[in-house]
Symmetry: C2
Subunit: 368 residues, 2 copies
């Protein structure tokens, strides 16, 4: 047998800009045109964003081809929507010189990012997140994914944005529950990376809930800086990036066991409390830490206990079969102290004795 | 406005092995298991490959989950098939520790490669090409693509294989027309990169058409070496890799104008002749070169003139609106001499005066 080795050269290193401000959406289009002027834009939004007036504010009457995801939300985060978007781009006679602009929350960013990744072998994507969840988390880092008819995030790609524009004024139109739920990811960022930021959240929670522009900008800057540092260090999620899954192992199971009646951030809040209990069981928690976390989450107005009607058996079964686990017990990200992840031997996602996980899950079920 | 820059580090450079031999398919599975033993395999083939017995030869009765594309061929190279494959992987409880094994021709390799690229944000793909086309061309280089209901290759990704195994004995089961058509890409490789290889093809064409193992191995080694060098130098097709599109500008238009009744290699053969005529018009051709090329293609048994029933108006319209063109006249790869591409100012794909293109297209139509 004759053998030949074909080299795959390293990609060129790149970078992208994250701009944070308040109330600049109406003046953003010329900036995008000047940054991507040689490309033809295609805007993806959803019915919520249209109803809130953000699409009109961005386009200002310019005749730009676009796609509106309807119904909005998780229910449309699937391969069927991604395929419909690609076909809409083709019908608009767009080619490889397209730049996709995603205006909206997590679903819009995920579906649009995936569509951009697979259209004609990939075109650039500009993210303009308009929710607390997307501004804190999903718009940055290049993870895209959509569901199949069988399971969540069956399809996906790593596809880094070409630019991210965070206009914090856009979150003012969010309904209260969505607004608060998305802030859970800010609490998560503080917990895994920045104790001072946690104190800031404690001090400013009332102003944050009042949606005041200045504090929202500070919030967005902290979130983007923390997430940016983590994804720079480990863009493909081989290890360090996993710390962003803090609260998500049990959080995802809770979200699923609730049949998605709980919002993502609400389920993650419960997952953060569960992680805190595991930390106590493992002797990783300083006294009073979990109380402090629970107090902040309660002020935020997200649940810190399981809903009474949650299917406990389904929850336990889901934790046993966590999709990231693959033939083994699911892994957990745990804090060593407030603002720092516990990472023995440099591992950010740890195996936890299944008796501890079962004890904590049972205690969460009992405390409903 | 506050700005932050997020770095996207360069990917690690990699490499993959291309193994060329004859008759090793029955002994290949243990090799794949030892190379990817920590991963769970999922095999993708098509009905032709199953009928030819290759799937049984590869698996040797081992119970490996697999998907058979049916009907085989271009008609199944679409997003619907790719989605069905991903859902079959999910139903087989496969996760991120999957290795996809593609056994078949260009359609199998393209669809399987795309499915591997988007399943759970990407899993490795092993290519085992079984046609003259796939062994010469599509199995190497990481271009994947599938059609939408609107157009060809609307969806795609660059996704390099983790390994390529070329067993030249597998092409013995191809029908004569498929076998010959796929060899056009070998002629193309010789034309763009290796005049001695062209002479080899001239000398050995009878033995090649007789499908003798030794000459087929020499052929595969040349093809893999030429294609490997080109894709190493320009994996993302920014410039140099475009030389692999020699004969494809008009070839694609001919393929489409024939409503895909012409096979890819047959259409490319006509495209190579058309490119040769353009080279003569532009003073790029030494005397007798096009005759030599036409003679070799004729011995190969692929068409060198347009079919009499081809829709000439559709052809001319398609050339005008070449999908790679995007708001401009399509670009052509042209030879400066046999075995070398003409690349003034380092450009491998050139604009050609539209009067020359129209004159040559008309001459091809008149000569039917």
């Amino acid at each position: 047998m004759h053998e030949l080795e074909i080299k795959v050269p390293a990609s060129r290193p790149g970078s992208y800009k994250v701009a944070v401000g308040s109330g600049f959406l109406a003046n953003l289009w010329p900036q995008i045109k000047s940054a991507f002027g040689h490309r033809r834009p295609f805007v993806i939004a959803d019915a919520n964003v249209v109803a809130a007036g953000h699409l009109d504010t961005l386009l200002g009457g310019r005749p730009v081809p676009h796609f509106v995801i309807d119904p909005p939300g998780e229910v449309s985060k699937n391969i069927t929507t991604a395929v419909a978007i690609v076909e809409a781009m083709e019908k608009a006679y767009l080619g490889r010189d397209t730049v996709v602009v995603a205006l909206g929350g997590g679903t819009v960013g995920d579906v649009a990012g995936f569509a951009a990744a697979i259209f004609k072998r990939g075109v650039p994507i500009v993210q303009i997140p308009t929710t607390t969840l997307a501004q804190a988390d999903s718009a940055i880092g290049g993870k895209t994914g959509v569901d199949s008819s069988v399971s969540k995030n069956a399809f996906g790609a790593f596809w880094h944005p070409a630019a991210v524009y965070v206009d914090v004024a856009t979150v003012r139109t969010l309904d209260e529950r969505q607004y608060r739920s998305g802030l859970t990811e800010s609490v998560k960022h503080a917990l895994i990376a920045d104790a001072e930021y946690f104190e800031f959240l404690e001090q400013k929670m009332d102003v944050i809930l009042d949606r005041q522009g200045e504090v929202l900008q500070t919030l967005a800057q902290h979130n983007c800086a923390i997430k940016g540092r983590v994804v720079e260090a480990d863009p493909d999620e081989r290890n360090q990036r996993r710390m962003l899954n803090y609260g998500h192992t049990i959080g995802h199971a809770v979200e699923s066991a609730s049949n998605y009646r709980l919002l993502h951030g609400e389920a993650v809040a419960i997952g953060i409390v569960a992680a805190g209990r595991i930390e106590i069981e493992m002797g990783l928690s300083e006294p009073g830490r979990l109380e402090r976390v629970t107090t902040l989450l309660s002020r935020l107005g997200v649940p810190v206990t399981l809903p009474p009607d949650l299917d406990a058996e389904k929850l336990i079964d889901l934790i046993r079969h966590d999709k990231k686990a693959i033939d083994r017990w699911p892994r957990f990200v745990l804090l060593g102290q407030l603002g720092r992840v516990h990472c023995p031997d440099g591992q950010y996602a740890l195996e936890v004795d299944r008796r501890i996980v079962e004890k904590v899950t049972q205690s969460m079920v009992d405390d409903r």
